[in-house]
């Protein structure tokens, strides 16, 4: 059971974009950072663990070069690498990487000249995840996934590889949340057509398997212990084996488009939030006897009149989670009791 706790107010309302909430617990400082895209700015809040002290920051998209102006931010996500944590913003113009508190921009990559996968679609970047020791992978509307090599400190970030397997705009990128044996799949990319690609990161990324397109967009994807959880536009969650791409479960989870999934690495709990105002908690596991994948429903909450667009667990155990929705100027928190 989860119980609703005090909400965290945001300075500006959230926009209806996939995976529009990022949460970064900072254990040393006893604070948690939250970030949600408003439009041309990102609303950031840092809350103490008792939620008595909350501070705010509005991060405006600083575009490289002069005169480009503000443009829409499509996603804001903290990327935790073993050596450093970066706040990554994607937009119409390009990709920006900041120090984790949003204070200093350390890298900027322009999307100029990039063509999108369809003439009516603007070029943009969307889908952010850190994988391996030093990679940050970011999707684009052309279907290409850009792999950035990030040094343990400094600004010498380089574009090391471009993964070109998708033919539709990338929606989300998910990295393995648990320690896996060398050579195992550790990255999954999803696109507008519902196609998934599973990769093994390294000096050269290797395509492990492909899951073909379906009629519905895959808007959010997560990878945990070799298991892929994918959320779709028809309200379904599908569970695949990452190594083979085999479908193991299909859940009619939501009545409308799913906007966000999250996985708690220590417990295997899965969170899903959708346009239907519901946020659901599930648990993934492997049957110890048969090794078969299983999923069970644990808990559900309804945010009245909320078109939910972001949902994240607040800790690796999954004992607390946070959600936000379109035009909501707050982050609603639930804590396990």
């Amino acid at each position: 059971m989860y119980r609703k706790e005090k909400s965290i107010a945001l300075k500006e309302s959230s926009l209806a974009l996939y995976n529009n909430l990022s949460v970064l617990p900072v254990p040393g400082k006893q604070v948690t950072y939250f970030a949600s895209v408003h439009g041309t700015s990102v609303s950031m809040a840092s809350a103490s663990d008792d939620v008595l002290t909350i501070s705010h920051r509005q991060l405006m998209a600083k575009e490289g070069g002069l005169g480009l102006g503000a443009s829409l931010i499509t996603q804001a996500m903290w990327c935790s690498l073993p050596s450093r944590v970066l706040l990554v913003l994607t937009s119409r113009k390009g990709i920006q990487m900041y120090e984790s508190d949003g204070s200093v921009m350390v890298y900027w990559h322009a999307l100029e000249g990039m063509e999108s996968s369809s003439p009516g679609m603007a070029a943009f970047a969307r889908g952010i995840a850190a994988t391996g020791q030093h990679f940050i992978c970011i999707g684009t509307s052309s279907g290409a996934v850009l792999v950035f090599d990030v040094p343990s400190k400094g600004t010498n970030i380089t574009l090391s590889e471009v993964l070109k397997k998708h033919t539709s705009a990338i929606t989300d990128v998910g990295a393995e949340l648990c320690q896996q044996p060398e050579g195992a799949a550790d990255l999954v990319t999803a696109d507008d057509s519902g196609a998934l690609c599973v990769w093994c990161s390294g000096e050269k990324f290797r395509l492990v398997t492909q899951i073909p397109a379906s009629e519905y967009t895959c808007s959010s994807v997560k990878l945990w212990n070799g298991i892929i959880a994918a959320g779709y536009g028809n309200g379904q969650i599908r569970i695949y084996e990452a190594a083979s791409g085999t479908l193991h479960a299909e859940v009619s989870a939501h009545a409308r488009w799913i906007y966000a999934l999250d996985l708690a690495p220590l417990s295997g709990k899965l969170l899903s939030a959708a346009e239907d105002s519901f946020v659901q908690v599930w648990r993934l596991s492997r049957n110890p006897d048969t090794e078969a994948l299983e999923i069970e429903h644990c808990h559900g909450e309804c945010v009245t009149d909320g078109l939910l667009c972001g949902a994240r667990f607040c800790n690796p155990e999954g004992s607390a989670f946070a959600v936000t929705g379109f035009e909501l100027s707050e982050i609603i928190r639930y804590v396990q009791v």
Binding site: T40, T74, M121, A122, G235, A253, A255, E275
Partner: protein, 475 residues
């Protein structure tokens, strides 16, 4: 820090620099923004000049000056739509807002008109109503305008788009003054925002558009040409959108939601129907039919590695959904199944807006949207191109034009103008053109069209407009 704005006036033979009296800096308070405020660009048009001032942090102010006199007209262009993720959004936005506009105008005209043989010369008749509706519909669906609309492009700001609709509604002999136009635009905005939010699938935006077009066709009275224009647009929509993927429709929907973000004007008809809350947010139902192609939630199915279903369990989802009985028709004719986008107005159901609740959010938004926006000049160009496609209908020489009031009385309209929060006022482009309109073709075209609109001229006593107001008292 507030610097005195300066206007450069460029005419054929001279350039003058004079202090500007009425350049709108977009409501940006000098103290707060402390940003530059200078004339940056001039578009000479005939013997007038468009002065683009700024950029301020929120956009640019555009005013038009003629050599002979300073026209009071100015507009403020901001560019929140610069973030459009889909460049195919504008046709759906304009056609659906246009549909809502026609519903409201039709309802108001019907409530006022009386059978032709009984009307005095200065009263609205059914004939007048049909002529007004035909003229506005003909204006929206004219080929040049549709050609411009269907080009892939960014979305306009709400303020800029209001200018387009003001132009469209004035394609007939009917005239609206600013408070009524504001109210009309607010009603259109909220009605379509509701439909976008409630659209079961993003693709159903197309069915909502078809519902509007179906009803618009019923408004057309004995004008096969106009009917053909609407059918051509129908086919264009089917061509342009019929094959788009679900993901691309979702991008269009998300782009529309950017356009409508944080607009919370309360509308009486929506409040009464309990689909809008008193805070201006819409009610999202957790029951009723699920979107086509979606299962009723509540089932988990497990498969073995061969793909056979090995277990099926149910879980309590929390909603109360049913399956839809069929998918709506995406053809030229047919049952659209969903009701969003159909005409919710009737003579007995006039609508009111309440902007008071909308103020708080907008204020905070205006203040914090402080990035300089050089794209605003670009929007002026886009707007000019779009408006270049609009036809102008002059009222016949002896007619003053009918005035339509969206309020019950004249006094209410005046009060609304005064009480409206500043953040919600739209500045109107009002351009005075003289001769010689070649130099800037696009802007000259706008100017040519706006010349017709000399608003604010007092209605002669006993005009049709005045009587219309008297009749509206009975509402």
């Amino acid at each position: 820090m507030k610097t005195a704005p300066v206007i450069c006036c460029l005419s054929k033979h001279e350039m003058t620099i004079s202090p500007a009296l009425d350049v709108d800096n977009g409501g940006a308070n000098g103290e707060e923004t402390g940003c530059l405020n200078q004339a940056t660009s001039l578009f000479p048009i005939g013997s007038s000049v468009a002065v683009v001032t700024g950029p301020t942090r929120q956009g640019v102010a555009v005013s038009l000056r003629s050599k002979r006199r300073v026209s009071g007209g100015r507009t403020f262009l901001s560019f929140p739509g610069a973030g459009a993720m889909s460049l195919r959004t504008l046709p759906l936005l304009v056609l659906n807002l246009g549909g809502e506009m026609l519903y409201i105008v039709d309802q108001r005209l019907r409530a006022q008109s009386i059978p032709g043989d009984k009307a005095r010369q200065d009263e609205w008749t059914d004939g007048d109503r049909r002529r007004v509706m035909n003229d506005i519909i003909g204006g929206i669906f004219n080929k040049k305008f549709m050609d411009e609309l269907f080009k892939p492009q960014e979305l306009y700001s709400r303020k800029a788009l209001r200018t387009v609709f003001e132009r469209l509604v004035h394609a007939s002999i009917m005239r609206l003054n600013a408070p009524s136009m504001d109210k009309l635009y607010d009603l259109m905005t909220m009605a379509f925002k509701y439909q976008v939010l409630l659209s079961p699938r993003p693709k159903d935006l197309l069915l909502i558009t078809f519902n509007h077009l179906d009803t618009i066709k019923e408004f057309i009275y004995e004008s096969p040409k106009t009917l053909t224009q609407v059918d051509i647009t129908f086919r264009r929509l089917i061509d342009a959108y019929g094959s788009l993927s679900a993901g691309e429709f979702q991008l269009i929907r998300q782009t529309l939601l950017i356009f409508f973000q944080d607009i919370h004007i309360r509308v009486s008809i929506l409040l009464k129907d309990k689909v809008q809350n008193s805070n201006g947010h819409f009610v999202l139902p957790t029951s009723g039919p699920v979107p086509w192609g979606t299962d009723v939630p509540g089932v988990i199915r497990l498969f073995n590695s061969k793909g056979d279903e090995i277990q099926r369990t149910e879980f309590p989802q929390g909603g109360n959904y049913i399956l839809p009985y069929r998918e709506g028709s995406f053809d030229l004719h047919g049952d659209r199944v969903i009701k969003l986008g159909t005409n919710i107005y009737s003579i007995s159901r006039p609508v009111e807006t309440d902007t008071s609740g909308a103020t708080k959010n907008l204020v905070s938004r205006v203040k914090e949207n402080t990035a300089p926006n050089p794209l605003a000049k670009e929007e002026l160009n886009l707007l000019a191109r779009l408006m270049g496609g609009l036809e102008v209908k002059k009222p016949p020489g002896n007619e003053t034009g009918f005035r339509l009031n969206l309020f019950t009385t004249d006094e209410e309209e005046e009060h609304a103008a005064l009480a409206r929060p500043e953040e919600l006022t739209y500045q109107v482009i009002n351009i005075q053109a003289d001769q010689d309109q070649q130099r800037n073709e696009e802007l000259a075209r706008i100017m040519g069209e706006f010349e017709e609109e000399k608003e604010g001229e007092p209605q002669p006593p006993g005009s049709k407009g005045a009587d219309l107001l008297a009749m509206m008292d009975e509402l």
